[in-house]
Symmetry: C2
Subunit: 341 residues, 2 copies
């Protein structure tokens, strides 16, 4: 899919910001009912640990005491970056399109992970032949570009999905994510960069220098301006999809550093905007753990991934599914005739 149609309920960044200012919260009655159910399931109190809090969290968004995950969706957004020409990645920019072709052909890691967990996989390639502007020379995107990318993300979410993972592919986008994180949270470029897909020490220096130049070039008054000036189309689309999921009350599993940087824009716009989001994993990229700490999110998995594509989020789907299955289908003490204490 390329150049996705519009149809989103906003036509400017300000329109998107307005939607972000009025987010629905969880269903408190559903969450309370799930909490009550958890306390009468036939197990020692708290013995299922994090599975219990996960199930209750899903229950809050689904508005039911017995939540279920039967239709998870994974969306991988792809974009190209002007800064790729600065040698900030171990791979050439052409690899973005090659990887999209591989997603379409079914040969990538995310295809296997989606199949393994029974998730629907959608691929959204965003104007790959039109990289963003090198953000050391000007804003990465115009208002129009940003709006289109946010809308592509918004529109890509399947309203029938009951769990969403957003992932990305975009050569150079860990540098874009580092610049964005640095703009949102401060610190030095070195705090936020890492080896990404595997740059050497010189590549790492180029990443730091690129972030430094980008931050010096742009004084961004709002988080959305930081996304426009330093981000990329796939980052904006992930933000749009996460926002749409919130409006649909669909829980989201965040993937790695780049996905989390995109999500952080929403949190910076509206505190609590990521209450419907779970950190699926913590990656090898050092900025990821730092970002999750800023967001107050404890990762579900720690498997030393650094692939992107939604891979860590996809792995976490099975755990969330299992948590809801335990919560919703286990017997209660009353049903089972087992002694409680």
């Amino acid at each position: 899919m390329t150049n996705p149609p519009s149809g989103a309920p906003f036509s400017t960044p300000d329109g998107f910001a307005t939607l972000m200012a009025a987010l629905p919260g969880p269903d408190l009655a559903g969450r309370a009912a799930a909490q009550a159910r958890d306390s009468v399931l036939t197990k020692p109190r708290g013995a299922l640990g994090r599975l219990e809090t996960l199930a209750i969290w899903v229950a809050g968004w689904q508005g039911t005491a017995r939540p279920r995950i039967t239709a998870p969706q994974i969306i991988v957004f792809a974009g190209n970056h002007g800064i790729a020409a600065r040698g900030v990645s171990a791979f050439p920019a052409a690899v973005t399109a090659q990887m999209v072709a591989k997603f379409m052909a079914g040969g990538a890691a995310i295809n296997q992970l989606a199949a393994s967990t029974g998730a629907k996989l959608d691929i959204v390639a965003l104007d790959l032949d039109r990289p963003t502007t090198d953000f050391t020379t000007g804003p990465a995107m115009t208002d129009h570009d940003l709006t289109r990318a946010l809308a592509a993300g918004w529109q890509a979410v399947d309203p029938a999905a009951d769990l969403l993972v957003v992932g990305e592919m975009g050569i150079a986008n860990s540098t874009s994510a580092a610049a964005l994180a640095c703009a949102l949270y401060g610190g030095t470029p070195e705090d936020w960069i890492g080896r990404g897909t595997g740059v050497d020490d010189h590549g790492l220096q180029r990443k730091a220098e690129t972030v430094r130049l980008g931050l010096a070039r742009h004084q961004c008054a709002t988080p959305l301006e930081a996304l426009r000036c330093l981000g990329g189309r796939e980052l904006a689309a992930m933000a749009g999809a996460i926002a749409r999921a919130r409006h649909l009350s669909v829980p989201v599993i965040l993937d790695g550093f780049i996905c989390t940087a995109a999500a952080a824009v929403l949190d910076a716009m509206t505190p609590g905007a990521l209450d419907h989001c779970l950190a699926g994993h913590v990656s090898q990229e050092p900025g990821h753990a730092r970002l999750l700490e800023k967001l107050g999110k404890a990762p579900l998995l720690a498997l030393d991934l650094r692939l992107g594509e939604g891979s860590g989020g996809a792995l976490a789907i099975s755990i969330v599914k299992a948590a809801t299955a335990c919560h919703s289908d286990m017997a209660t003490f009353a049903e089972a005739g087992v002694a409680d204490v």
Copy 2:
């Protein structure tokens, strides 16, 4: 299933020890072929982190460059303990049989977890009406009891399974596991006990005292003698099943503290005996992390579980499945026409 038939290739503990002295290793050619395949898959080197080492590990036991998990088996062994009468658990001994009934009826956590990951679930109840001897007064089991329990585990493994999880149910068995760990590795009873299903401070003191009395009572010359004197039928059965899996070259996912204590007996008998075993998770029970450290096993998950039943091992199945799916079904650089670096 109760009183499982014999038919195992040993009829004494010594016979089992003889089998443990001649364990097959991994298929080195299969493992090397998987390692070679990993290096040409279309992803940055090492970007799938632990999924890569998991897939190569399974490949070694399956003896193929492209391993698959299509027939996982979970076996839950249940046993009763004489020491339950000493007030070392938050639950009465009758709960063991009640929980077995719940496993059979499909209402326990492990039923939902098995269904969620597509695993076959078998329940083996071991002489529940005949608890082991209180080990503060004599050996928990006779040679005959031990042999029967080892054989029950050995026989319960499905030769068609391609991945095995062993779990347990047995009121008071975290005290038995603590005594066993203390006998194998030394330290104080306090190093190895925890709150199990939720004992209070007095219960915790009774657990420590029970372990202390047990260790003073029995000077065990071999790991198998420690299992006989301090263990229980479900612990012995888990050891028997793990040993059988090794002889079948079936990889095993260990569950929590009690399962890992049973497995540790095999490691103490034969160094490397657990090379076919993965630590599925680390539980809330403090002795578990300590045991895993002694065994040199890094847990795959950390979800604060403390349920037993094979629950943590069952959750890890999805991750191992996903790892083998990525490894075996992803395109190579040559197939995909993607630039390598």
